[in-house]
Symmetry: C2
Subunit: 167 residues, 2 copies
């Protein structure tokens, strides 16, 4: 018995993006109930030199679509990063979930040792597939989803840990 | 080839607790440089009804020590939750890292299907070992470490994503 690369990635990504979607939806509902423009939440941040909520969601989705694509040796789809509303961010999440659902276990499994090269702005990262998934993609995904949650909580949206963990 | 339960838990926990330790250390240094009592950071929170930093660190450590113990069928050690300073929180992290280092792969591997029962205050959760690790412990660990990071960032501590991801 063992954990497969597929089971350790795609279903977890889909689950967490579903939770992120619900969290954002609660933010939008809160804004409606309090009569303020939900784009204020989209532009909120926890520190002046941290990314605003929109960028948190963009990076979370980029992390997981990039992971699925790279492990399966296909080109990661490019998204435009132009979202300015919660509805647009939710549409981006839905697009990412649909993309993730296209992958079969056979495309992702047995990629533990696959060479992954990630060209960042200032440097290039080299991983094996397992390290890329467990030490880069997963911590980054949780970081940006948690930070989205924290930005909303900090702005008064009623969320609980269960919204983050999911059903 | 596959991912083992040990490799998917203990080394990742130790790595992330090391990062959490460094993040807290930077918080303490920031307080010293700015001439304020670091316990202000320990008591900071992002919303009035969220846990303060101390509790975030306590839960993060509880999650991973509980996971190692339960997968290995030993009694999780009880910690007193009395920390009020960054030094005490760092000591708790160090104690947890030492505890985690005692586990051998043989104690943790092949626990994917092990029955795990978690008695919470209001309900009992039942998992298999794999689901407990991947859908409960890991998201909770990242949630509480990210929230610690966010509390410090929100209070002006100079941290970057690299402090969260680690070397």
């Amino acid at each position: 018995m063992s954990l497969s690369m597929y089971q350790s990635s795609i279903p977890i990504f889909i689950h967490m993006l579903g939770n992120l979607r619900n969290i954002l939806q609660k933010g939008a509902t809160h804004a409606t109930n309090k009569n303020f423009d939900a784009s204020i939440l989209v532009n909120s941040r926890l520190a002046p030199d941290m990314f605003a909520l929109a960028r948190q969601v963009q990076i979370a989705t980029d992390m997981v679509k990039g992971c699925a694509a790279r492990l399966a040796s296909i080109e990661p789809p490019k998204y435009d990063d132009t979202e300015t509303t919660i509805d647009e961010l939710i549409a981006r999440i839905d697009k990412t979930i649909s993309f993730l659902k296209e992958f079969s276990p056979a495309q992702i499994d047995n990629t533990e040792a696959k060479e992954i090269t990630l060209a960042l702005r200032t440097r290039t990262l080299n991983f094996d597939g397992k390290t890329y998934l467990q030490h880069f993609v997963i911590p980054n995904m949780y970081f940006h989803i948690t930070t989205t949650y924290n930005i909303l909580r900090h702005n008064g949206v009623e969320l609980g840990k269960q919204d983050f963990i999911g059903g």
